[in-house]
Amino acid sequence: MNTTTRIEIGIRPEQVDSRGVSVAHRIRTLLGIPIERVRTRDVYHVQPALSDEQAERVARAFAGPVLRRGAVGRIEGSDFDVAVAVGFRPGVTDPVAHSAKVAIEDLLGLEPGRCEAVFTSRLYLLSGVSLADAERIARELLANEVIERISIQSREQWEASEPDLDVPRVVDSQVPETRTISLEVEDAELERLSREMLLALSLGEMRVIRDFFRRAGDDPGRRAAGLGSEPTDAELECLAQTWSEHCKHKIMSATIRYRAPGEPEQTIDSLFGTYIKGATRAVEAAIEQREGRSWLVSVFDDNAGVIAATDRHHLVYKVETHNSPSALDPYGGAITGIVGVNRDPFGTGMGAELLANVWGYCFAAPDWKGELPAGLLHPRRIREGVHRGVIDGGNQSGIPYARGFEFFDERFLGKPLVYCGTVGRMPVEVAGRPAHLKAARPGDRIVMVGGRIGKDGIHGATFSSAELTEESPVQAVQIGDPITEKMMFDFLIEARDLGLYSAITDNGAGGLSSSVGEMAQACGGARMDLARAPLKYQGLAPWEVLVSEAQERMTIAVPPENLQRLIDLARRREVEATDLGEFTDSGVFHCLWGERTVTYLPMDFLHGGLPPMELEARFEPVEIAEPERLPLPEAAGVLASEIRAFVARHNLASSEDLCRVYDHEVKGLTVVKPWIGVHRDVPAEASVFQIDHGSWEGYALAEGIFPTYSDIDAHAMAQAAVDLSLRRLLAAGARPDRIAALDNFCWPDPLPGATNPDAEHKLAQLVRTCRGLYEACTAYGMPLISGKDSMKNDAVIGGRRISIPPTLLVSAIGLVPDVRMAMTLEVPDRRQEILMLGATAEELGGSQWAAHRGVAFPQVPRCRPAAWAGRYRAVAGVIRDRLVQAVCVPALGGLMPALLRLARAGDVGLEVDLAALPVEGEVGWEARLFGESCGRMLLCSRPEDRDEILTRLAGEPVAPIGRLGDDGRLRVRSGEHMLVDQSVETLVACWRGEAAGEEG
């Protein structure tokens, strides 16, 4: 008697199996295997077994009458050579299974829960390949063995076997128990413990913990709870999560001695306090002085930053990284990245509705042909998986994407950077109270809402605080499930508006240990029973329940009088909500398993016991000789193929087709879409959204990132990122006095170690970045309202260290008073001349042109924020008053790609003269055409407005450099000398990757 029913759904033979066609295409193009055909099937294993009649009904209903067919057992009569089945490993989240289970119950009229479990898998029937080829196809393209298992059968084996009824059930007979661990051991043993338990704690930190428990053994409360002078595994795990670099930002809070040639030595007590918080406080003071009150509503103390926007709403913004998990399982890591960052604005204040997502990725080139160390996935695979993950996460949650970028450099081979961010809208008040404030009160119930707990994501926080190795833990990968999360969000917004809870936060890194631990700070303690937590499967130890990062969970504090209403509403909405215990004022983070205590940690030690780090930073400037300059090309034809190859470079090419897979206009609030222009294929300088239906008040989003500038000086990298994000927002018509920024630091490990000889230099670059950021943000009046740092972006594989370049992403948000007045780079007609605002300097260091030529240039683009702040205020007025018709911001690749975007967006030709550019010092033609000097904007205006513009911008370097044309050609002269004369259409074909342009 079978305990499992197997149902197979396939495409009817006369219909197109488009998924199969697509897989076959990828096998041919990506793996070079000339496969004949691929057919695909979806397989559902249902437990307990259904009756034959029931199973037939399910098969018929799942298939429908037209496109698909279904069968109980197998669909017979297929022609193929090899069958590859891909299913999840035990314990991996299978979101489709839950939906299928609901459908089966309703279809068959079963009580909820009668269908106990469904397991889904995919079957690929391959024709025209050998078993060996099939094996390669399965491993390199169809499955990721970190989370999936593969079964491969030849046609003969398949036919000789019974339909596979094997399901990935978690079989774990482990009895949940808590053990104590002695820390009264040698230092080497402490280090071994930290390493083997994946605690990622230093020897110094382990010693602090040891000393604490020596004293704690005498605490009568601890003794009464049944614990002594040895910590439990749960206590060590809880401390490790709370004290992880990921959660505590130890490096950004460290005391640092900074030295650099020619500079006085400086001791910095916390980079975060001095430069990040410091910048925001300075800007806020200036705002208060100017306006009487600040528009910063909540910064630094919550899950995301909050700024005032309209009478009814605040805006909430957060950007996160999810680098390490995306390196191991690109799809799962990235989808978790996006649905995870959704929970940050959602868990800010009393909760924000989500408006828009942003993403950005740093990868090695997808056509990487170099050696690929064992343990690393090919960058093409990482790129595909990451895009798919963030696409599914965003689209299925009904949140449009607003901004997206990709940056390619081979040093991201070891760790890709996966940035995901979300903007939310918080009502000024909910249930009669200010929505940005929250506090759990003693006596409030601790309620966990959303998904169940499994072993997925255990040690995520500590894992991301360590470098990637071949043995990186599989359980560190979670797979986000956007639908569970969406249903949870819908429920929580209802509960919020009914005033049913008093505080909310998300379960992210560190799981319950972090969420409850942080909320308990407001009231001074918590007591919860981990045995009550709903589990995906049995067999989790108490410490695993405490630190699991299983996704789609929020923790709320519910006044006891509201508990029943909240639980009832959750049940009605088919969302799980579980009362785990209560917030207290005992001063203790007290976790139990039934009656037995598993943690008894004083709150002040948990959150305040970590001693600050003391670190050394030493800047070693790079010396780069001036490279040989290219002579001025004699005729336009000389540069033609070079220009075509340049605009086709991965870092400059259009990715419109890829981006269209992301929804950008769900919610109906998008006004300037991410891709604009006559052909809708030019990236907008900034995207602009309404905040609510029925109101024209809005906001704009843009960003800046220049990883390669840090090769020369990270100070310049930071300022260039701030400057670009600001120029882009101004180019969209944002108010210059309502712009805030987010900082995301991704760094190679700056802590000293045997395999990390230049740690002090990396730390010095961090110091210089923070200084640059501070100077730019204070000068421009851009407060830093939220940020994040990721400090271990290295892979050590086979003894070789691959480190990313130090990278700062600046994400800016600015208010647009009336979105109908938003500006873009689309010219409305050809009656325009082109002005350049801002000087071009001989600054090709770290540029795309340097990478294209394969040479290093010494001078990196430098900003003068103090001098440029006035320029930006003036140009914002020019834009507001409609003296210009379109604004284009030169960025990566300099003037050349900017001109191409401008021409394409308006479907016009244009002609400019490099000799007319405002310059600073001696500037050669390469720097004029391809240099990435900051502070510049291209303004398109009617000739009759020129005088007014020049008057308004008096004192600034600004000059007319050309005009639009109507013959569809892009021309660049240097005086009488023609450098570029090409049809826009040809250049666009290269830029879009549709021509056989050379790859750079």
Partner: protein, 274 residues
């Protein structure tokens, strides 16, 4: 006007379970002077109150990802609607109620059997067509041009000739068994909208037609013309600044928002019921 004075059609928008276009769809009706009721599907399934659909003249099945598009887009939700609300829906349609299904809502109505519906007689909730994966596999968000079929029975497109809307889906290829049924539907006036190319001709060519639907079919209705489903999103073109070209228009405020026009036509048809 006080709420008690309202005499227009009453509109229901079922929400939750992964649907996500409630805000813009509600705003569409609000812009036309009708305050819709947003009711969670789990409350409709639980039959809170005696006949949950009895008060309404219009139901909007909105876009989104009900149950994550798992198994097939709209399939799980259609299964649940059939299990819990089939009788109420039948009553609603018998009374002459109007329904629109947008994107995921269209997929749901097709899998529920309301579209294209039976050739004669009352609705029997039997699925006759399908919406398959786009020929170019995967989701895509891009604006398309649509032609309103001149002889369509559809009440939601009355008075309109052509519209521009964004298509945002991965499973929008309209399929019937046998394939020729498509022609019968057209002859019967049940094809409402077709994707057209730059010259205004119905097309199966990407990118004009994002999914490869035969004859460029983008939207269909049932025999009554009151139940209408379409893949593109009328809820995404409610004011001129939704249109991708607004920045290059001399007077964008004069752009006619085609999405709003569809909702207006539906409401006008519903007013005859009140």
């Amino acid at each position: 006007m006080g709420a008690g004075d309202y005499r227009g059609p009453k509109v229901l928008i079922p929400v939750g379970l992964g649907l996500n276009c409630e805000a813009e769809t509600a705003h569409a009706f609000r812009s036309l002077g009708v305050e819709p009721d947003l009711v969670h599907l789990t409350d409709l399934f639980a039959q809170r109150g005696p006949r949950p659909l009895a008060d309404y003249q219009v139901i909007a099945f909105i876009g989104g990802f009900s149950y994550g598009d798992h198994v097939a887009g709209g399939l799980v939700l259609a299964t649940r609607l059939r299990a819990h609300l089939a009788d109420d829906l039948r009553d609603f349609l018998d009374r002459g109620g109007l329904a629109i299904g947008i994107c995921n809502g269209f997929q749901t109505l097709v899998r529920l059997g309301l579209l294209p519906g039976p050739d004669s007689g009352a609705h029997d909730f039997v699925q006759r067509a399908d919406l398959g994966p786009n020929d170019r596999l995967g989701y895509r968000d891009a604006w398309v041009r649509l032609r309103v079929e001149p002889d369509t029975r559809c009440l939601w497109t009355r008075g309109l000739e052509s519209v521009e809307l964004p298509a945002r889906h991965g499973e929008g290829k309209f399929l019937t068994e046998p394939a020729q049924l498509v022609d019968q539907l057209a002859e019967d006036g049940r094809v409402a909208l077709r994707y057209v190319d730059a010259a205004g001709r119905p097309t199966e060519q990407w990118p004009w037609n994002p999914n490869g639907s035969a004859g460029g079919i983008a939207g269909i209705c049932d025999r009554s013309g009151r139940v209408f489903g379409l893949m593109p999103h009328p809820d995404a073109f409610l004011h001129p600044w939704h249109h991708p070209d607004w920045r290059r228009q001399r007077a964008p405020e004069t752009l006619e928002p085609a999405g709003l026009a569809l909702f207006r036509a539906g409401l006008e048809a519903a007013r005859e019921l009140v």
